[in-house]
């Protein structure tokens, strides 16, 4: 957090920053209209990862201080979101409707976007080495590295397994593969979804996916079933999902929890067979394994993860507790009770951006507030949601200040409205992060 590298902190910048308050929850208000200014720069900020956390952070850095030199490192020219990728599996959306690019960041905000992987970080010398050998120097670094998988922690689920039994937990080719497998499956087949223990990316994700696959089956393969084998006894929005499943899908979805021998301990991806803790074998026609996870590779490489495999951060700023001048946001961090969601990542990205803008100006970062909203679709016109507001306590922990969930008893019009809100929610998030217009 040392400010030794920003001799350019000036009084005028200080003046600009006055009155910036709840930055995580609200857009920065002092953008000054100046965009795309390049040049000498107040400080060099590198952002690794162009997902919800990284793209949002890059934009809000430039909005907070157009004189920052912001470089975004993201291997893909097109980014597919995990949120709403289940709708693609359900046949409600196409891939191009969950695709985003970096044109707005580049052209409107003046962010330099480099399509490379970040291969190494040297926290002492403040450098990032890219796949093509380029070295970037940073004064401040934001990482939004997402998740990586713990290959073989689930016996048999190794790097080769996803081509047979897709995870589809990083959206893109894997999502397409899973949909092709569902389309190729004969009617009367069983789709088995293996759900992991906490913590993992997108807590309601597996259950929305089960819903969307059941919806697809109800339209195209009416004799097919969904079986969820879960390493947990409780899951996100469980009561709402269960009620929705009963209403729409009846016996089509079966959920087997931890206490009912739902935890899978061995996977044979090629034969699409799984074995549970107490020796039950399940044969799938399409097998979808959501494997155990950890922070994205580059966070581990930079030495930012702890024994848990995730990244501890100071929740006032999302600065790493392991290295100075590195901020980590999104799924890779230990931010509970905030869930690992795209919305959380985006909110954390704003807090980190505001903290950097303040630090560069020699100011104390503003108090951090965060928001999260997760909508899930159970059927095309049946949506449910959970929302939370969070802050950082004086003990340096994230605390829920208020939260809410869809009512357990509600009429069809309420659920239909929530399904509509879900679409608005997605589009607003995508516009905020990547400037995608619908």
């Amino acid at each position: 957090m040392s400010d030794k590298k920003n001799p350019l902190a000036t009084l005028s910048r200080r003046g600009l920053l006055k009155g910036v308050g709840a930055v995580g929850a609200l857009p920065l208000l002092n953008a000054c209209g100046a965009m795309g200014q390049q040049g000498g720069g107040d400080a060099r900020v590198v952002v690794i990862g162009g997902g919800f956390g990284g793209a949002t952070a890059a934009k809000y850095l430039k909005r907070g201080n157009p004189n920052l030199e912001v470089t975004l490192v993201e291997p893909n020219e097109v980014f597919y979101t995990c949120p709403f990728s289940n709708l693609y599996l359900g046949g409600l959306r196409e891939m191009n409707e969950i695709a985003h690019n970096y044109n707005e960041l580049r052209e409107v905000y003046g962010v330099q976007v480099i399509h490379q992987t970040a291969q190494d970080v040297d926290p002492v010398n403040h450098t990032v080495v890219l796949g093509d050998g380029t070295t970037l120097i940073y004064d401040k670094l934001i990482m939004s590295p997402g998740i990586d998988f713990r290959w073989n922690e689930l016996e048999g689920y190794d790097e080769a397994a996803p081509q047979y039994a897709p995870h589809a937990w990083q959206a893109g080719e894997q999502t397409r593969l899973l949909r092709r497998q569902l389309e190729d499956m004969d009617d009367g087949g069983v789709f088995v979804l293996v759900a992991p223990a906490n913590p993992f990316r997108c807590p309601p994700g597996p259950y929305e996916r089960a819903s969307m696959v059941a919806h697809y089956f109800s339209q195209h393969k009416p004799n097919s079933k969904v079986l969820i084998l879960d390493a947990k006894d409780n899951f996100s929005k469980q009561g709402l999902f269960t009620a929705g499943w009963n209403e729409f899908y009846g016996d089509r979805i079966e959920w087997v929890g931890l206490s009912n021998d739902g935890r899978v301990t061995r996977v044979d991806a090629i034969r699409r067979e799984v074995e549970t803790e107490f020796g039950t074998l399940h044969q799938a026609d399409v097998l979808n394994v959501v494997p155990p996870q950890k922070a994205g590779f580059i966070a581990e490489r930079a030495g930012l993860t702890d024994d848990s495999g995730w990244v501890p951060v100071n929740p006032a700023t999302f600065e790493s507790t392991q290295a100075e001048d590195i901020f980590v946001v999104g799924d890779a961090t230990i931010a509970a009770p905030m869930p690992k969601s795209g919305f959380s990542a985006s909110s954390q990205g704003k807090v980190a951006a505001a903290a950097i803008v303040a630090q560069v100006a020699g100011e104390t970062p503003p108090p951090a507030y965060f928001t999260n909203t997760c909508y899930s679709l159970i059927a095309p016109d049946y949506g449910i949601s959970v929302a939370g507001i969070y802050r950082t306590t004086s003990d340096g922990e994230v605390e829920t200040t208020s939260s809410g969930l869809s009512p357990s008893e509600a009429d069809a019009s309420t659920r239909a409205l929530e399904a509509q809100y879900a679409r608005g929610w997605y589009e607003a998030m995508a516009q905020d992060a990547w400037g995608t217009r619908y």
Binding site: M1, K237, F278, I334, G362, V386
Partner: protein, 260 residues
């Protein structure tokens, strides 16, 4: 400049904060732990107690205990007891081990009411005492909502033993039984306290000899899960018996070890 210094101080604090010691020190401040330790001076840092440092579901937190220690007839770990000092009842679970286990390693799932330090106390047959601790932070997950629809009944015993066990080799055994483990501290939907209903013990026998006894308290999670090791020398029959407190009702399951 003053501002910069305070920022620096803050960042140093942030760096130091997570380094809280979890080697068992501080045990003497908790009466229940101190009583379990007894008169001996315990050794710290040898017994390992593993739990996630943050859990979004305090109703079933994985707990693993292990120690590098012989399990021979004349020198073995004979008990490991676990305490959660900020739970309504400090006692969590007690394992009484025997040399027939072959390896002093056990796991279960426990209830942790709030963020706190848990302690474990192990006694060896030769009078050594080992203490370990684990710090855990409990948060209510932002996306979690428990469903209380179905109350578990006592039954459905499940046992998994090694597929091809070898004589004298410690092999992993897992057990699960459905049971509500109702603490007598919790209100039901009608606002009335739900009556206490707990399992008392799980006893594991091999050809008539007791291999392991687990005594369960209020903090053992619903549908108790136990993982441990068995190292039988000859092929034979294992019996797993769960006994309910007060009613004395039992549920039994058997498994045959065919040693190679």
């Amino acid at each position: 400049m003053r501002k910069l210094q305070s920022l620096l101080a803050l960042s140093l604090l942030a760096l130091l904060a997570p380094a809280a010691l979890a080697d068992g020190s501080g045990w003497e401040r908790h009466a229940a732990v101190a009583e379990a330790v007894g008169e001996a001076t315990p050794q710290l840092g040898q017994l390992r107690m593993q739990m996630p440092s943050v859990s979004e579901d305090g109703s079933a937190v994985p707990l693993e205990l292990s120690i590098d220690h012989p399990m021979s007839a004349d020198e073995y770990i004979e008990s490991i007891r676990v305490f959660a000092t900020k739970n309504p009842n400090a006692e969590v679970v007690d394992f009484f081990l025997t040399p027939q286990m072959g390896r002093p390693e056990v796991s279960t799932r426990v209830r942790v009411n709030e963020s706190q330090t848990l302690y474990a106390v192990a006694h060896s047959s030769t009078g050594e005492v080992y203490v370990a601790s684990a710090d855990i932070r409990i948060t209510v997950g932002g996306c979690l909502m428990a469903s209380d629809d179905d109350i578990a009944e006592f039954g459905q015993p499940r046992v998994a033993i090694p597929r091809s066990p070898s004589a004298g080799e410690p092999g992993e055994v897992r057990t699960l039984v459905t049971h509500p483990m109702e603490t007598g501290l919790r209100e039901g939907p009608d606002g009335e306290i739900l009556p206490r209903r707990l399992l008392d013990t799980l006893v594991v026998e091999y050809e008539g000899d007791t291999v392991l006894t687990v005594r369960m308290h209020t903090a053992v999670s619903e549908n108790p899960y136990m993982r441990f090791f068995m190292a039988p020398e000859e092929s034979g029959q294992a019996v797993f018996r769960w006994t309910e407190e007060d009613s004395g009702d039992t549920v039994e399951e058997q498994a045959t070890f065919n040693l190679s």
